[in-house]
């Protein structure tokens, strides 16, 4: 028989009084409540982190969000998000409440809710909610004055209609980009964003500001001459979108982010047509603010080969192909520039689970090398995108590990004549 203290701690962990029970204590008498079996009682499996958050707080709320067609997502007090799944119990599980007389049977449960950490793919939903404002994207003060009314999408409305944590929503909004204008969230029109950037960069050069330390307020003041009344929040959002993570309050304009954004706009404008790489490079060069240089060899090079595509400005936006023997595509150096064709394929438009994502990718192209497929899967891995962008070793390793595991599970590896491994689908 355990010592009294051991029994007391065991009893306390059952949620029963710390006075504990022993062989000398009277038995716990079982009764059933008048409402048994209750239909209003559920069991939710918590992570240790969630349980600790609740137990440390006096009052807390966990929120579950989701539409009928979505998997429900639970958001904890720290903003972490969890997918909710139902797990059935094979044994009979009874829930009893402690009463003065003993234990009172309240419910018999056949399932519990389980939680799995997740990164909800909420970008499409955020865009959908922002589109409720019939005015469309923010395009400058002249347009706002001409079209003053529209449905206002407030922060509370976004929070209510988009699953995921506040931090996840803010990241998606920053990537659009979007800004709060007159108390409501507005998507900033893509072409207008580029125009604001172009004017900000021109002002920076004109005033001898370093492009890796642009002060948003100074840029905003300079832009008043072109668009009087332009909110600071818009300039802030645009500079943040095209900069490396800011330090010291100033923005370091990143030519690569600008090129990538322009590539998205170009693909969106031209539909799903295939691009000869040279033609895309010319289009990007024409669209880039002239003062910006791209880090690929200090300028936007005209020598992209197919092997360069995964590391280029169109990473995760397009894949390479060629109208010649397919096996040459997997040569270590890839195909030369003049033979590379780019087909737009945006990972943002694809499903958010690995199996469905791979099904989509193999439907678009039946054979992929590992280097080609990683950019289309990396957003499904729970790593900081900024770290990944900066080639942080730990982030890259985490992505590699996850993608390799998914390829083992859902793809078949074969060796191409070039010697490289290529993957085909083994999904039905």
């Amino acid at each position: 028989m355990s010592g009294a203290s051991g029994i007391s701690s065991e009893r306390a962990s059952l949620g029963l009084p710390a006075s504990g029970i022993s062989a000398q204590d009277p038995p716990l008498v079982l009764s059933a409540s008048d409402e048994y079996p209750s239909e209003n009682l559920r069991l939710l499996e918590l992570t240790e982190a969630l349980a600790a958050q609740l137990e440390e707080a006096s009052v807390a709320t966990l929120t579950v969000r989701g539409r009928a067609a979505d998997t429900a997502v639970l958001v904890g007090a720290d903003g972490a998000a969890y997918q909710m799944h139902t797990a059935h119990t094979s044994n009979s599980v009874y829930v009893l409440a402690r009463t003065e007389a003993g234990l009172e049977l309240r419910a018999k449960v056949s399932q519990t809710f389980e939680l799995q950490p997740t990164r909800p793919q909420i970008a499409a939903r955020v865009a959908e909610v922002l589109a409720w404002d019939e005015r469309g994207g923010f395009r400058g003060m002249a347009f706002e004055r001409a079209e003053p009314s529209g449905r206002r999408v407030t922060d509370a409305e976004l929070s209510r209609h988009v699953a995921g944590s506040d931090a996840q929503r803010r990241r998606v909004l920053a990537g659009i980009p979007a800004a709060v204008v007159d108390g409501a969230w507005r998507r900033i029109d893509g072409a207008y964003s580029v125009e604001v950037l172009r004017l900000a960069v021109a002002s920076a050069v004109e005033n001898d500001w370093a492009l890796d330390a642009v002060d948003a307020r100074l840029a905003w003041q300079a832009l008043q001459a072109d668009d009087a009344g332009l909110p600071l929040a818009v300039v802030d959002a645009v500079l943040a979108r095209f900069s490396r993570p800011p330090s010291g309050g100033a923005y370091a304009i990143d030519a690569r982010r600008v090129a990538r954004f322009l590539a998205e706009l170009i693909f969106e404008a031209e539909g799903a047509r295939t691009w000869p790489a040279a033609e895309l490079v010319r289009a990007l060069r024409a669209a880039m603010p002239p003062q910006l240089l791209l880090a690929e060899g200090a300028e936007l090079v005209a020598a992209w080969g197919s092997a360069d595509v995964p590391r280029s400005a169109v990473r995760g936006l397009a894949y390479a192909s060629a109208p010649i023997d397919a096996h040459l595509l997997y040569a270590p150096a890839g195909l030369p520039h003049h033979a590379t064709y780019l087909t737009p394929l945006s990972r943002c438009a694809m499903p958010g689970d690995p199996r469905s994502r791979l099904r989509c990718l193999f439907a678009a192209k039946p054979r992929w090398s590992r280097d080609e497929i990683v950019p289309f899967m990396e957003d499904l891995v729970d790593v900081d995108p900024d770290l990944l962008d900066s080639a942080d070793a730990a982030a890259v390793a985490a992505v590699a590990k996850a993608v390799d595991a998914w390829l083992v599970k859902f793809a078949r590896a074969t060796r191409a004549p070039s010697g490289d491994m290529v993957y085909t689908s083994r999904l039905n």
Partner: protein, 118 residues
Amino acid sequence: MSQIEFAYDKAKLREFCLIETQGSLETDRPGGLRGQQRFGQIERLADGKVQMLVGVHRVPGSVVQLKKPLAVLIKQPPAEEGGDTSYRIEAIIRDKFMFKVRPDVILQQELVNMPSVS
């Protein structure tokens, strides 16, 4: 878009526990177990294990730590008609009474004292 809140208030926590069995608790009385008083008991044995007595059945068991804590949720009536669903977290449970073997049948005292039929 649906939104459900699970509200936790340390001051309002109650004491709950779980019993897990291979079989099920049943009665042939009309209305089932609902409202039944004193239909069984759980007691601690000298060796630290537990046993449950229900009617003529006795089943040995133990207290088992849960792999993950479980929150007991009770559905709350909506604040207004058509309002959001919400639950209150009544307790966080970390272990359970586990009875995973078949029960033994025991003779109750009143049956032992019945006259024999010759």
